[in-house]
Amino acid sequence: MFLQQLVNGLTLGSLYAVLAIGLTLVFGVLNIINMAHGGIFMIGAFVGLFMVTVFEVNIFVAILVAMVVGAILGYLLEFVALRPLRKKNVSHLAPLISTIGVSIFIESVALLVWGPQTRSFPPDFIGGLIDFGMFKISMVQIIGLGVSIVLMLILNVLIKKTKIGKAIRAVSLSTETASLLGINPTLVISVTVMLASALGSAAGVLVGLSFDAVEPMMGVVIGFKGLAVLILGGLGNITGAMVGGFILGVSEVFSVAYGASSYRDAVAFGLIILLLFWRPQGLFGSKDKGGRP
């Protein structure tokens, strides 16, 4: 029982982690919370679903296509809602509202096009359970856990080893200094938002697959969890987002398994309120950068 719940928690947590990494990447570079992340996440889920049902492709191809669509949406988001604001000296509220506007826009378009009903993946897609004796794990869970871990590994290499990754880190430390050193901040910011949106999109497909439910409002609830993970791990910290995602996933599953199932959605925020008593900058956040708007 315990091991089973742990496995369930870890698979859920890996999805939260991928989602939150997208948020934390954007925060690291732009110092804003991207409220449209949930919207792109939802679009990703729909793209994945249609790839699977209409074009009948492999789930991995579907995730890849969803990521490409997510990246394109990310570029549009940056171009329409964030770039115009960067040129002026604006308060940190403006981009927040602007991305909220985008999320309302995306959600209402989706509602108009696809209707409010919940759609599910074809039944043969869910696959069977694999019994390990101590615990059972479904195909869906394996795909979710596997893809998330692979994505996180790729991202880690991308951020740590490649040129663009170094540029992203440089811009997140200081945009001005980075541009003095010959880095084009506009390009780096575009790439970061695209990368983040691609990850959000992939998380959308995986979450849609594991809950077997895709609907236009799914981004709101899950997007919320992403915010919780973001704070839990420390703003702008990728390792924090990964660990935070797993912590949230596991604690949510355990709270459902051992009692308070109706309080499930409060667990995330109860957890961060408690954590902030102890570490106001999040688990992995650094003190000097943390919390600055």
Binding site: P84, A94, G101, V220, I231, A266, I272, P293
Partner: protein
């Protein structure tokens, strides 16, 4: 006359006033540079406490609403102790989390009737209509008793809104208001100037919560029905948009923002399904064009000048000190002679 005063229009006006009050509650904490997203949480505390007091304890409505506000303020004191020490987005998310926790608690409590919510809350308009009958005002000025009830409700709401606005305007140039501005500009510098930053942040947080609690109480006693979903994430965003859309640096911004954003969905009603799409696009465009909201301090100065309202001459502190010093010197000199 009766066409203009139909219940639908009157209801929109009532919602506009409540929204304005909620907007000001956010504006108030924003004026210390704190972005809190707990307004919906405090609103729901005020609404539930007020509604339960009138439903179960049968207290008079004004007292119940006032107690609701007080309880919201008390909750804010408890929540504020850890959270007002947080900065920027940490504070925003922590307060957002508070709202979410409150919502889930109300969803699960027995006394709040869970997801079904509370219904049959006594309405202010209904009570006032009874008074109208009592004082025989039915048909006065060709307005029937029900409309009179609604009109009187609006007048009472307007008085409350006016009081809240007056409070904000008066506090702006007081010692407290100056402290708020200093903290908003730079809290480290404010601390070095000897301002107790935590105290003033807490003050703004608690007063904001009190206003939100009152707003919630009024909301409950106007809609007659509340359930936890009324105070979800969407409400938070909606409330936050009022001051930011209208202008987050001046109190009139919240009023203008709530006026436009309450009216807009009703005006756009003919667009039906496309309404939210336009709403979202409008937010993006507005932020690109006027990132500080419609009303800014500069614009307000211009408007004041046009209206011929004289702003109080601002005397720099240094000038005041020099004058005092000169006076003191003159005094001590005359004493010596």
């Amino acid at each position: 006359m009766s066409e203009i005063l139909n219940p639908y229009y009157l209801q929109i006006v009532m919602f506009f006033i409540i929204n304005a009050i909620m907007g000001i509650s956010i504006f108030f904490t924003l004026s210390t540079g704190q972005l809190t997203l707990g307004a919906a949480g405090f609103m729901s505390v005020g609404a539930y406490v007020g509604a339960l007091l009138t439903l179960k304890a049968e207290l008079p409505i004004p007292i119940a609403i006032f107690i609701g506000g007080i309880v919201a303020a008390l909750v804010a004191v408890v929540i504020g102790l850890p959270t007002t020490r947080l900065k920027g987005l940490y504070l925003a998310i922590a307060t957002l989390g508070f709202g979410e926790v409150v919502r889930v608690i109300f969803l699960n409590l027995e006394v709040t009737n869970g997801a079904l919510g509370l219904s049959g809350i006594p309405a202010i308009a209904q009570e006032l209509t009874n008074y109208v009958y009592e004082f025989d005002m039915d048909g006065l000025l060709d307005i029937d008793a029900l409309t009179w009830g609604n009109l009187l409700t609006i007048i009472i709401l307007l008085v409350i809104l006016a009081l809240v606005i007056l409070f904000c305007l008066r506090i702006h140039n007081s010692r407290v208001g100056r402290a708020f501005q200093a903290i908003k500009a730079d809290d480290h510098a404010a601390e070095l100037m000897g301002i107790n930053v935590v105290y003033y942040k807490m003050l703004a947080f608690v007063i904001g919560a009190f206003i939100a609690g009152i707003g919630g109480g009024l909301y409950a006693h106007i809609t007659n029905f509340i359930n936890p979903t009324d105070f979800s994430y969407h409400k938070v965003v909606q409330i936050l948009l009022f001051p930011v859309f209208g202008g987050s640096n001046v109190v009139w911004g919240s009023v203008l923002g709530s006026f436009i954003l309450t009216l807009l969905p009703e005006v756009l009603r003919f667009l039906a399904d496309y309404r939210d799409i336009i709403y979202g696009a409008l937010l993006v465009i507005l932020m690109a064009v006027r990132p500080d909201g419609i009303l800014t301090e500069d614009l307000m100065d211009k408007i004041y000048r046009k209206l011929g309202v004289k702003k109080k001459a601002y005397i720099p502190e240094t000038q005041v000190l020099t004058e005092r010093f000169e006076a003191y010197k003159a005094q001590s000199k005359s004493g010596q002679e």
